[in-house]
Amino acid sequence: MVSNRDNLGFVGVGLRSVHYADVLEGRVSGVDFFEAISENFMDSKGRPRIILRKVREKFPIALHGVSLSIASTDPLDYKYLSGLDELYQEIDPIRTSDHLCWTGVLGKNGHDLFPIPYTNEAIEHIVNRIDEVQNYLRRELIFENVSAYLGFNESEMSEWEFVSQILEKSGAGFLCDLNNIYVNSFNFDFNPFEYLKRIDLKKIQQIHLAGFTDRTKFYFDTHSRPVCDEVWQMYKWLWENGVKSPVMVEWDQDIPDFDTLKNEALKVNDYRGEERDENSRSSDSVSELGF
Protein backbone atom coordinates (compact mmCIF):
# COMPACT_ATOMS: atom_id res chain seq x y z
CA MET A 1 0.00 0.00 0.00
CA VAL A 2 1.21 3.51 -0.81
CA SER A 3 1.58 5.63 2.25
CA ASN A 4 1.90 9.38 2.53
CA ARG A 5 5.31 8.68 3.98
CA ASP A 6 6.52 7.46 0.56
CA ASN A 7 8.27 9.78 -1.90
CA LEU A 8 8.24 12.64 0.58
CA GLY A 9 9.19 15.98 -0.89
CA PHE A 10 8.96 14.77 -4.49
CA VAL A 11 8.33 17.51 -7.04
CA GLY A 12 6.75 16.64 -10.38
CA VAL A 13 4.93 17.92 -13.42
CA GLY A 14 2.20 16.58 -15.67
CA LEU A 15 3.45 14.51 -18.60
CA ARG A 16 2.16 16.17 -21.78
CA SER A 17 2.84 15.21 -25.39
CA VAL A 18 4.57 18.51 -26.20
CA HIS A 19 7.35 17.53 -23.79
CA TYR A 20 7.82 13.91 -24.88
CA ALA A 21 10.95 14.73 -26.87
CA ASP A 22 12.50 16.62 -23.93
CA VAL A 23 11.94 13.67 -21.63
CA LEU A 24 13.00 10.91 -24.01
CA GLU A 25 16.05 12.71 -25.31
CA GLY A 26 17.37 13.28 -21.81
CA ARG A 27 16.87 17.05 -21.67
CA VAL A 28 14.95 16.83 -18.42
CA SER A 29 16.42 17.17 -14.98
CA GLY A 30 15.32 18.65 -11.71
CA VAL A 31 11.96 16.94 -11.36
CA ASP A 32 11.41 13.79 -9.32
CA PHE A 33 8.38 12.33 -11.07
CA PHE A 34 5.80 12.76 -13.81
CA GLU A 35 2.08 12.42 -13.52
CA ALA A 36 0.38 10.91 -16.57
CA ILE A 37 -3.33 10.84 -17.40
CA SER A 38 -4.28 7.15 -17.33
CA GLU A 39 -6.88 7.39 -20.11
CA ASN A 40 -4.34 8.81 -22.57
CA PHE A 41 -2.44 5.54 -22.43
CA MET A 42 -4.62 2.68 -21.22
CA ASP A 43 -6.36 1.87 -24.52
CA SER A 44 -3.36 2.46 -26.75
CA LYS A 45 -0.85 -0.22 -27.64
CA GLY A 46 0.86 2.14 -30.06
CA ARG A 47 3.20 5.08 -29.68
CA PRO A 48 1.60 6.65 -26.56
CA ARG A 49 2.00 3.45 -24.55
CA ILE A 50 5.56 2.89 -25.77
CA ILE A 51 6.47 6.44 -24.78
CA LEU A 52 4.98 6.00 -21.31
CA ARG A 53 7.05 2.84 -20.85
CA LYS A 54 10.19 4.71 -21.89
CA VAL A 55 9.46 7.59 -19.53
CA ARG A 56 8.89 5.06 -16.76
CA GLU A 57 12.38 3.67 -17.36
CA LYS A 58 13.74 7.11 -16.44
CA PHE A 59 11.27 8.49 -13.88
CA PRO A 60 8.71 7.39 -11.30
CA ILE A 61 5.18 7.94 -12.59
CA ALA A 62 1.92 8.78 -10.86
CA LEU A 63 -1.17 7.72 -12.81
CA HIS A 64 -4.09 10.11 -12.61
CA GLY A 65 -7.49 9.15 -14.02
CA VAL A 66 -10.35 11.33 -15.21
CA SER A 67 -13.00 8.74 -16.11
CA LEU A 68 -13.54 6.47 -13.13
CA SER A 69 -16.75 8.40 -12.38
CA ILE A 70 -16.77 7.21 -8.79
CA ALA A 71 -19.89 9.20 -7.91
CA SER A 72 -21.97 8.13 -10.91
CA THR A 73 -25.10 6.14 -10.23
CA ASP A 74 -24.49 4.00 -13.31
CA PRO A 75 -22.88 0.61 -12.66
CA LEU A 76 -19.08 0.61 -12.50
CA ASP A 77 -17.46 0.06 -15.90
CA TYR A 78 -15.42 -3.13 -15.50
CA LYS A 79 -13.96 -2.86 -18.98
CA TYR A 80 -12.49 0.46 -17.91
CA LEU A 81 -11.27 -0.97 -14.60
CA SER A 82 -9.67 -3.90 -16.39
CA GLY A 83 -7.72 -1.56 -18.68
CA LEU A 84 -6.71 0.53 -15.70
CA ASP A 85 -5.53 -2.54 -13.81
CA GLU A 86 -3.41 -3.65 -16.76
CA LEU A 87 -1.81 -0.20 -17.00
CA TYR A 88 -1.12 -0.10 -13.26
CA GLN A 89 0.53 -3.53 -13.41
CA GLU A 90 2.72 -2.46 -16.29
CA ILE A 91 3.76 0.98 -15.06
CA ASP A 92 3.93 0.34 -11.31
CA PRO A 93 2.93 3.92 -10.46
CA ILE A 94 3.88 5.69 -7.25
CA ARG A 95 0.33 7.05 -6.90
CA THR A 96 -2.99 6.02 -8.47
CA SER A 97 -5.70 8.62 -8.38
CA ASP A 98 -8.97 9.91 -9.78
CA HIS A 99 -11.53 12.54 -8.82
CA LEU A 100 -14.41 12.83 -6.37
CA CYS A 101 -16.92 13.45 -9.09
CA TRP A 102 -19.01 11.79 -11.76
CA THR A 103 -18.60 12.08 -15.54
CA GLY A 104 -21.80 10.57 -16.91
CA VAL A 105 -25.05 8.76 -16.30
CA LEU A 106 -27.52 6.64 -18.29
CA GLY A 107 -24.60 5.39 -20.37
CA LYS A 108 -23.86 8.90 -21.63
CA ASN A 109 -20.45 10.42 -20.93
CA GLY A 110 -20.04 14.16 -20.44
CA HIS A 111 -16.22 13.97 -20.31
CA ASP A 112 -16.14 16.50 -17.51
CA LEU A 113 -15.69 16.39 -13.75
CA PHE A 114 -19.24 17.06 -12.58
CA PRO A 115 -20.07 18.19 -9.04
CA ILE A 116 -21.96 16.19 -6.44
CA PRO A 117 -24.62 17.25 -3.95
CA TYR A 118 -22.97 17.15 -0.53
CA THR A 119 -25.44 14.75 1.07
CA ASN A 120 -25.23 11.69 3.29
CA GLU A 121 -26.81 9.67 0.50
CA ALA A 122 -23.96 10.65 -1.83
CA ILE A 123 -21.35 9.81 0.82
CA GLU A 124 -22.75 6.33 1.32
CA HIS A 125 -22.95 5.75 -2.42
CA ILE A 126 -19.38 6.90 -3.07
CA VAL A 127 -17.87 5.03 -0.13
CA ASN A 128 -19.45 1.78 -1.36
CA ARG A 129 -18.12 2.38 -4.86
CA ILE A 130 -14.60 3.17 -3.63
CA ASP A 131 -14.65 -0.10 -1.71
CA GLU A 132 -15.72 -2.01 -4.83
CA VAL A 133 -13.04 -0.37 -7.00
CA GLN A 134 -10.23 -0.80 -4.48
CA ASN A 135 -11.13 -4.46 -4.04
CA TYR A 136 -11.09 -5.01 -7.78
CA LEU A 137 -7.81 -3.18 -8.33
CA ARG A 138 -6.26 -4.62 -5.17
CA ARG A 139 -4.77 -1.26 -4.33
CA GLU A 140 -5.58 1.98 -2.59
CA LEU A 141 -6.70 4.89 -4.73
CA ILE A 142 -6.45 8.53 -3.80
CA PHE A 143 -9.20 10.98 -4.72
CA GLU A 144 -9.00 14.60 -5.77
CA ASN A 145 -11.38 17.42 -4.86
CA VAL A 146 -12.79 19.13 -7.97
CA SER A 147 -13.58 22.71 -8.89
CA ALA A 148 -17.23 23.62 -9.41
CA TYR A 149 -19.34 26.38 -10.89
CA LEU A 150 -22.65 25.51 -9.30
CA GLY A 151 -23.87 23.81 -6.17
CA PHE A 152 -26.95 21.83 -5.22
CA ASN A 153 -29.65 23.21 -2.99
CA GLU A 154 -30.06 19.91 -1.17
CA SER A 155 -26.43 19.84 0.02
CA GLU A 156 -26.38 19.09 3.72
CA MET A 157 -22.81 20.05 4.57
CA SER A 158 -19.73 21.97 3.42
CA GLU A 159 -17.38 20.60 0.78
CA TRP A 160 -14.65 19.87 3.32
CA GLU A 161 -17.05 17.98 5.58
CA PHE A 162 -18.21 15.96 2.59
CA VAL A 163 -14.67 15.15 1.44
CA SER A 164 -13.50 14.36 4.97
CA GLN A 165 -16.33 11.92 5.61
CA ILE A 166 -15.70 10.07 2.36
CA LEU A 167 -11.99 9.77 3.07
CA GLU A 168 -12.59 8.66 6.63
CA LYS A 169 -15.29 6.09 5.83
CA SER A 170 -13.61 4.67 2.73
CA GLY A 171 -10.02 4.67 3.95
CA ALA A 172 -8.98 6.25 0.63
CA GLY A 173 -6.25 8.85 0.45
CA PHE A 174 -6.62 12.49 -0.54
CA LEU A 175 -5.15 14.14 -3.61
CA CYS A 176 -5.42 17.72 -2.42
CA ASP A 177 -5.78 20.09 -5.37
CA LEU A 178 -5.00 23.47 -3.85
CA ASN A 179 -6.00 25.37 -6.96
CA ASN A 180 -9.42 23.71 -6.92
CA ILE A 181 -9.89 24.65 -3.28
CA TYR A 182 -8.89 28.23 -4.08
CA VAL A 183 -11.15 28.43 -7.15
CA ASN A 184 -14.08 27.07 -5.13
CA SER A 185 -13.33 29.41 -2.23
CA PHE A 186 -13.87 32.33 -4.59
CA ASN A 187 -16.81 30.79 -6.40
CA PHE A 188 -18.62 29.75 -3.22
CA ASP A 189 -17.28 32.40 -0.88
CA PHE A 190 -15.39 30.53 1.82
CA ASN A 191 -11.93 30.79 3.34
CA PRO A 192 -9.58 28.27 1.67
CA PHE A 193 -7.57 27.90 4.87
CA GLU A 194 -10.73 26.95 6.71
CA TYR A 195 -10.95 24.03 4.26
CA LEU A 196 -7.34 23.02 4.95
CA LYS A 197 -7.79 23.30 8.69
CA ARG A 198 -10.87 21.10 8.66
CA ILE A 199 -9.49 18.14 6.74
CA ASP A 200 -7.29 15.40 8.12
CA LEU A 201 -3.89 16.42 6.78
CA LYS A 202 -2.60 12.89 7.31
CA LYS A 203 -4.89 11.78 4.49
CA ILE A 204 -3.06 13.92 1.91
CA GLN A 205 -0.95 11.67 -0.29
CA GLN A 206 -0.39 14.03 -3.19
CA ILE A 207 -0.81 17.73 -3.93
CA HIS A 208 -1.83 19.40 -7.18
CA LEU A 209 -0.96 22.96 -8.09
CA ALA A 210 -2.21 24.80 -11.17
CA GLY A 211 -3.30 28.17 -12.49
CA PHE A 212 -6.86 29.33 -13.10
CA THR A 213 -8.50 31.99 -15.27
CA ASP A 214 -10.34 34.92 -13.75
CA ARG A 215 -13.59 35.18 -15.72
CA THR A 216 -14.64 38.18 -13.58
CA LYS A 217 -17.86 36.60 -12.34
CA PHE A 218 -16.12 33.37 -11.38
CA TYR A 219 -12.76 31.64 -11.36
CA PHE A 220 -12.35 28.96 -14.02
CA ASP A 221 -10.01 26.03 -13.45
CA THR A 222 -8.17 26.12 -16.77
CA HIS A 223 -4.64 24.92 -15.89
CA SER A 224 -3.45 27.56 -18.32
CA ARG A 225 -1.40 29.90 -16.14
CA PRO A 226 1.25 29.97 -13.42
CA VAL A 227 0.21 29.10 -9.89
CA CYS A 228 -1.16 32.19 -8.14
CA ASP A 229 0.40 33.56 -4.96
CA GLU A 230 -2.57 32.65 -2.78
CA VAL A 231 -2.25 28.99 -3.79
CA TRP A 232 1.48 29.09 -3.03
CA GLN A 233 0.61 30.42 0.43
CA MET A 234 -1.72 27.47 0.87
CA TYR A 235 1.07 25.14 -0.12
CA LYS A 236 3.38 26.87 2.38
CA TRP A 237 0.80 26.38 5.10
CA LEU A 238 0.53 22.66 4.28
CA TRP A 239 4.30 22.24 4.33
CA GLU A 240 4.60 24.08 7.63
CA ASN A 241 1.96 21.77 9.00
CA GLY A 242 3.88 18.66 8.07
CA VAL A 243 2.40 17.72 4.69
CA LYS A 244 5.34 16.67 2.54
CA SER A 245 3.53 14.49 0.05
CA PRO A 246 4.57 14.57 -3.62
CA VAL A 247 3.52 17.82 -5.25
CA MET A 248 3.16 18.61 -8.93
CA VAL A 249 2.11 21.35 -11.32
CA GLU A 250 -0.62 20.68 -13.89
CA TRP A 251 -0.55 22.76 -17.07
CA ASP A 252 -2.97 21.77 -19.83
CA GLN A 253 -3.66 24.81 -21.98
CA ASP A 254 -1.12 27.21 -23.49
CA ILE A 255 1.50 24.75 -22.29
CA PRO A 256 4.92 26.40 -21.95
CA ASP A 257 8.30 24.89 -22.80
CA PHE A 258 9.56 22.28 -20.38
CA ASP A 259 11.99 24.52 -18.52
CA THR A 260 9.27 27.07 -17.77
CA LEU A 261 7.03 24.30 -16.48
CA LYS A 262 9.82 22.78 -14.42
CA ASN A 263 10.76 26.16 -12.95
CA GLU A 264 7.15 26.71 -11.97
CA ALA A 265 7.15 23.40 -10.13
CA LEU A 266 10.50 24.09 -8.47
CA LYS A 267 9.06 27.23 -6.91
CA VAL A 268 7.87 24.86 -4.18
CA ASN A 269 11.33 25.28 -2.70
CA ASP A 270 10.60 28.96 -2.08
CA TYR A 271 7.62 27.98 0.07
CA ARG A 272 9.13 25.15 2.02
CA GLY A 273 9.96 26.92 5.21
CA GLU A 274 10.44 25.59 8.68
CA GLU A 275 8.12 22.80 9.61
CA ARG A 276 6.07 23.52 12.72
CA ASP A 277 5.67 20.83 15.30
CA GLU A 278 2.32 19.15 15.77
CA ASN A 279 1.34 21.28 18.75
CA SER A 280 1.96 24.60 17.11
CA ARG A 281 -0.65 24.14 14.38
CA SER A 282 -3.09 26.98 14.67
CA SER A 283 -5.31 29.27 12.74
CA ASP A 284 -3.03 32.28 13.26
CA SER A 285 -1.40 31.75 9.87
CA VAL A 286 -4.80 32.20 8.26
CA SER A 287 -5.41 35.63 9.67
CA GLU A 288 -1.78 36.64 9.13
CA LEU A 289 -2.26 36.02 5.42
CA GLY A 290 -5.34 38.16 5.27
CA PHE A 291 -7.84 35.47 4.27
Partner: protein, 251 residues
Protein backbone atom coordinates in the same frame (compact mmCIF):
# COMPACT_ATOMS: atom_id res chain seq x y z
CA UNK B 1 -34.55 14.05 -4.89
CA UNK B 2 -32.25 11.05 -5.16
CA UNK B 3 -28.70 11.52 -6.42
CA UNK B 4 -29.45 9.55 -9.61
CA UNK B 5 -32.36 11.81 -10.55
CA UNK B 6 -30.17 14.84 -9.89
CA UNK B 7 -27.39 13.47 -12.13
CA UNK B 8 -29.82 12.78 -14.97
CA UNK B 9 -31.26 16.27 -14.63
CA UNK B 10 -27.79 17.83 -14.54
CA UNK B 11 -26.43 15.97 -17.57
CA UNK B 12 -29.58 16.69 -19.56
CA UNK B 13 -29.08 20.38 -18.85
CA UNK B 14 -25.40 20.27 -19.77
CA UNK B 15 -25.80 18.34 -23.02
CA UNK B 16 -28.84 20.27 -24.16
CA UNK B 17 -28.56 23.77 -25.48
CA UNK B 18 -31.38 24.97 -23.33
CA UNK B 19 -30.48 28.12 -21.42
CA UNK B 20 -32.85 27.11 -18.65
CA UNK B 21 -31.28 25.92 -15.42
CA UNK B 22 -33.10 23.67 -12.98
CA UNK B 23 -34.00 25.48 -9.77
CA UNK B 24 -32.25 22.75 -7.75
CA UNK B 25 -28.86 24.29 -8.58
CA UNK B 26 -27.34 27.43 -7.17
CA UNK B 27 -24.67 29.21 -9.18
CA UNK B 28 -21.20 30.13 -8.01
CA UNK B 29 -19.69 33.59 -7.82
CA UNK B 30 -21.98 36.22 -9.27
CA UNK B 31 -23.13 33.98 -12.09
CA UNK B 32 -26.78 33.49 -12.83
CA UNK B 33 -28.02 29.89 -12.74
CA UNK B 34 -28.19 29.92 -16.54
CA UNK B 35 -24.62 31.18 -16.81
CA UNK B 36 -23.41 28.51 -14.40
CA UNK B 37 -24.98 25.72 -16.46
CA UNK B 38 -23.59 27.52 -19.51
CA UNK B 39 -20.04 27.04 -18.19
CA UNK B 40 -20.55 23.28 -18.29
CA UNK B 41 -22.44 23.38 -21.61
CA UNK B 42 -19.63 25.31 -23.26
CA UNK B 43 -16.94 23.01 -21.85
CA UNK B 44 -18.89 19.91 -22.91
CA UNK B 45 -19.11 20.88 -26.55
CA UNK B 46 -15.61 22.37 -26.69
CA UNK B 47 -14.00 19.25 -25.26
CA UNK B 48 -15.86 16.89 -27.59
CA UNK B 49 -15.25 19.04 -30.66
CA UNK B 50 -11.55 19.23 -29.84
CA UNK B 51 -11.38 15.44 -29.45
CA UNK B 52 -13.22 14.95 -32.75
CA UNK B 53 -10.88 17.43 -34.40
CA UNK B 54 -7.82 15.53 -33.19
CA UNK B 55 -9.08 12.43 -34.98
CA UNK B 56 -10.36 14.21 -38.09
CA UNK B 57 -7.67 16.85 -38.38
CA UNK B 58 -7.66 17.05 -42.17
CA UNK B 59 -11.46 16.97 -42.40
CA UNK B 60 -11.48 20.03 -40.13
CA UNK B 61 -8.83 21.63 -42.36
CA UNK B 62 -10.84 21.05 -45.55
CA UNK B 63 -14.24 22.02 -44.16
CA UNK B 64 -13.02 25.05 -42.22
CA UNK B 65 -13.92 26.05 -38.65
CA UNK B 66 -17.53 27.16 -39.15
CA UNK B 67 -18.66 24.10 -41.05
CA UNK B 68 -16.74 21.71 -38.81
CA UNK B 69 -18.19 23.27 -35.61
CA UNK B 70 -21.68 23.11 -37.06
CA UNK B 71 -21.28 19.45 -38.01
CA UNK B 72 -19.69 18.55 -34.68
CA UNK B 73 -22.52 20.25 -32.86
CA UNK B 74 -25.15 18.29 -34.77
CA UNK B 75 -23.11 15.07 -34.60
CA UNK B 76 -22.99 15.10 -30.79
CA UNK B 77 -26.75 15.68 -30.68
CA UNK B 78 -27.23 12.50 -32.71
CA UNK B 79 -24.42 10.52 -31.13
CA UNK B 80 -23.75 11.65 -27.56
CA UNK B 81 -20.50 10.08 -26.32
CA UNK B 82 -20.85 6.86 -24.41
CA UNK B 83 -17.29 5.63 -24.04
CA UNK B 84 -14.93 6.81 -21.30
CA UNK B 85 -12.31 7.11 -24.01
CA UNK B 86 -12.32 10.41 -25.90
CA UNK B 87 -10.61 8.62 -28.79
CA UNK B 88 -13.95 6.88 -29.38
CA UNK B 89 -15.97 10.03 -30.00
CA UNK B 90 -15.56 9.72 -33.78
CA UNK B 91 -16.86 6.15 -34.12
CA UNK B 92 -20.02 7.23 -35.98
CA UNK B 93 -18.68 10.36 -37.65
CA UNK B 94 -18.02 8.82 -41.08
CA UNK B 95 -21.55 7.47 -41.21
CA UNK B 96 -22.89 10.82 -40.01
CA UNK B 97 -20.92 12.70 -42.69
CA UNK B 98 -22.26 10.40 -45.40
CA UNK B 99 -25.75 11.66 -44.58
CA UNK B 100 -24.88 15.33 -44.12
CA UNK B 101 -25.87 17.71 -46.88
CA UNK B 102 -23.31 20.25 -45.65
CA UNK B 103 -20.48 18.22 -47.20
CA UNK B 104 -21.98 17.69 -50.64
CA UNK B 105 -19.50 20.18 -52.11
CA UNK B 106 -16.74 17.76 -51.11
CA UNK B 107 -17.56 14.39 -52.71
CA UNK B 108 -14.31 12.87 -51.43
CA UNK B 109 -14.83 13.93 -47.82
CA UNK B 110 -16.58 10.79 -46.54
CA UNK B 111 -13.87 8.51 -47.93
CA UNK B 112 -11.15 10.79 -46.59
CA UNK B 113 -12.81 10.75 -43.17
CA UNK B 114 -12.87 6.96 -43.27
CA UNK B 115 -9.19 6.89 -44.22
CA UNK B 116 -8.34 9.35 -41.45
CA UNK B 117 -10.22 7.35 -38.84
CA UNK B 118 -8.45 4.16 -39.99
CA UNK B 119 -5.07 5.88 -39.65
CA UNK B 120 -6.03 7.07 -36.15
CA UNK B 121 -7.16 3.59 -35.17
CA UNK B 122 -4.04 1.90 -36.52
CA UNK B 123 -1.81 4.45 -34.77
CA UNK B 124 -3.01 3.11 -31.41
CA UNK B 125 -2.45 -0.54 -32.33
CA UNK B 126 0.67 -2.47 -31.47
CA UNK B 127 3.36 -2.11 -34.16
CA UNK B 128 4.28 -5.10 -36.29
CA UNK B 129 7.24 -7.21 -35.30
CA UNK B 130 8.86 -8.82 -38.34
CA UNK B 131 8.77 -12.60 -38.00
CA UNK B 132 11.26 -13.29 -40.86
CA UNK B 133 8.94 -15.37 -43.01
CA UNK B 134 10.61 -17.08 -45.94
CA UNK B 135 7.98 -17.31 -48.68
CA UNK B 136 10.26 -19.24 -50.99
CA UNK B 137 9.96 -22.24 -48.69
CA UNK B 138 6.15 -22.32 -48.96
CA UNK B 139 5.01 -24.88 -51.52
CA UNK B 140 1.52 -25.97 -50.43
CA UNK B 141 -1.67 -24.01 -49.75
CA UNK B 142 -1.60 -21.80 -46.66
CA UNK B 143 -3.52 -19.29 -44.59
CA UNK B 144 -2.15 -16.01 -43.38
CA UNK B 145 -2.66 -14.19 -40.11
CA UNK B 146 -1.83 -10.50 -40.31
CA UNK B 147 -0.82 -8.31 -37.40
CA UNK B 148 -3.73 -6.47 -35.73
CA UNK B 149 -2.55 -3.12 -37.05
CA UNK B 150 -2.95 -4.08 -40.74
CA UNK B 151 -5.84 -2.72 -42.82
CA UNK B 152 -6.70 -3.14 -46.50
CA UNK B 153 -8.61 -0.12 -47.79
CA UNK B 154 -10.18 0.80 -51.10
CA UNK B 155 -11.62 4.15 -52.20
CA UNK B 156 -12.90 5.85 -55.32
CA UNK B 157 -10.61 8.85 -54.66
CA UNK B 158 -6.90 9.01 -54.02
CA UNK B 159 -7.61 9.87 -50.41
CA UNK B 160 -4.04 9.41 -49.23
CA UNK B 161 -2.81 12.13 -51.55
CA UNK B 162 -5.71 14.45 -50.68
CA UNK B 163 -5.14 13.73 -47.00
CA UNK B 164 -1.45 14.65 -47.26
CA UNK B 165 -2.33 17.87 -49.06
CA UNK B 166 -4.92 18.81 -46.46
CA UNK B 167 -2.53 18.07 -43.62
CA UNK B 168 0.03 20.33 -45.24
CA UNK B 169 -2.60 23.08 -45.41
CA UNK B 170 -2.75 23.00 -49.23
CA UNK B 171 -6.01 23.65 -51.02
CA UNK B 172 -7.88 20.56 -52.10
CA UNK B 173 -10.08 21.57 -55.00
CA UNK B 174 -10.94 20.04 -58.39
CA UNK B 175 -10.50 16.53 -57.13
CA UNK B 176 -11.50 13.87 -59.61
CA UNK B 177 -12.25 10.25 -58.97
CA UNK B 178 -9.27 7.90 -58.99
CA UNK B 179 -9.73 4.37 -57.76
CA UNK B 180 -7.15 3.88 -55.00
CA UNK B 181 -6.26 0.93 -52.80
CA UNK B 182 -3.95 0.81 -49.82
CA UNK B 183 -2.55 -1.37 -47.13
CA UNK B 184 -1.86 0.55 -43.91
CA UNK B 185 -0.08 -0.61 -40.77
CA UNK B 186 2.18 0.65 -38.01
CA UNK B 187 5.87 -0.05 -37.89
CA UNK B 188 8.19 1.40 -35.28
CA UNK B 189 5.18 3.37 -34.02
CA UNK B 190 4.73 5.12 -37.39
CA UNK B 191 1.72 4.62 -39.63
CA UNK B 192 2.84 3.35 -43.05
CA UNK B 193 0.64 3.61 -46.16
CA UNK B 194 1.42 1.24 -49.04
CA UNK B 195 -0.36 1.82 -52.31
CA UNK B 196 -1.65 -1.35 -54.01
CA UNK B 197 -3.63 -2.08 -57.12
CA UNK B 198 -7.26 -3.15 -56.88
CA UNK B 199 -6.50 -6.85 -57.34
CA UNK B 200 -3.82 -6.84 -54.71
CA UNK B 201 -6.17 -5.04 -52.32
CA UNK B 202 -8.89 -7.59 -52.98
CA UNK B 203 -6.45 -10.48 -52.60
CA UNK B 204 -5.11 -9.13 -49.32
CA UNK B 205 -8.60 -8.52 -48.02
CA UNK B 206 -9.64 -12.12 -48.81
CA UNK B 207 -6.54 -13.46 -47.06
CA UNK B 208 -7.29 -11.25 -44.09
CA UNK B 209 -10.82 -12.66 -43.93
CA UNK B 210 -9.23 -16.08 -43.35
CA UNK B 211 -9.41 -17.57 -46.83
CA UNK B 212 -6.44 -19.68 -47.86
CA UNK B 213 -4.22 -18.77 -50.79
CA UNK B 214 -5.92 -21.36 -53.04
CA UNK B 215 -9.42 -20.36 -51.90
CA UNK B 216 -8.61 -16.78 -52.78
CA UNK B 217 -7.39 -17.79 -56.24
CA UNK B 218 -10.67 -19.72 -56.68
CA UNK B 219 -12.68 -16.65 -55.68
CA UNK B 220 -10.84 -14.59 -58.29
CA UNK B 221 -11.51 -17.22 -60.94
CA UNK B 222 -15.22 -17.43 -60.09
CA UNK B 223 -15.55 -13.67 -60.29
CA UNK B 224 -13.55 -13.48 -63.55
CA UNK B 225 -10.94 -11.32 -61.89
CA UNK B 226 -7.55 -11.51 -63.53
CA UNK B 227 -4.56 -11.33 -61.25
CA UNK B 228 -1.26 -12.13 -62.85
CA UNK B 229 1.49 -14.18 -61.15
CA UNK B 230 3.62 -11.03 -61.20
CA UNK B 231 0.96 -9.08 -59.30
CA UNK B 232 0.73 -11.85 -56.70
CA UNK B 233 4.49 -11.98 -56.42
CA UNK B 234 4.69 -8.19 -56.03
CA UNK B 235 2.03 -8.31 -53.35
CA UNK B 236 3.88 -10.96 -51.36
CA UNK B 237 7.05 -8.95 -51.78
CA UNK B 238 5.24 -6.01 -50.17
CA UNK B 239 4.06 -8.31 -47.37
CA UNK B 240 7.59 -9.63 -46.87
CA UNK B 241 9.28 -6.24 -46.86
CA UNK B 242 6.72 -4.65 -44.58
CA UNK B 243 6.57 -7.65 -42.22
CA UNK B 244 2.77 -7.43 -41.90
CA UNK B 245 2.29 -11.21 -41.59
CA UNK B 246 2.26 -12.39 -38.01
CA UNK B 247 2.10 -16.08 -38.91
CA UNK B 248 1.10 -18.46 -41.68
CA UNK B 249 -0.28 -21.97 -41.49
CA UNK B 250 0.45 -24.66 -44.04
CA UNK B 251 -2.67 -26.61 -45.04
Amino acid sequence: MKIRDRQIQFLNSVSSKSPEAPTAFHPSGTLSAEEAIGVYQEAYLARLTEALGEIFESIWEVLGDDRFYLLANRYFDFYPPQSYNLNDVGRNFVNFLSKSKEVRDFPFIVEMADFESQVFDVFHKESIKSPHINFEAIESDFRICFFGCVRFLNYSYNVHEIWLKAKAGDEVTDISEELSSYMIFTKNQNVIVEKMNLHQYRFGKELMLGRSFMETLDTFEKEFLDISPDEVQDMFEIFRESGVIREWTLL
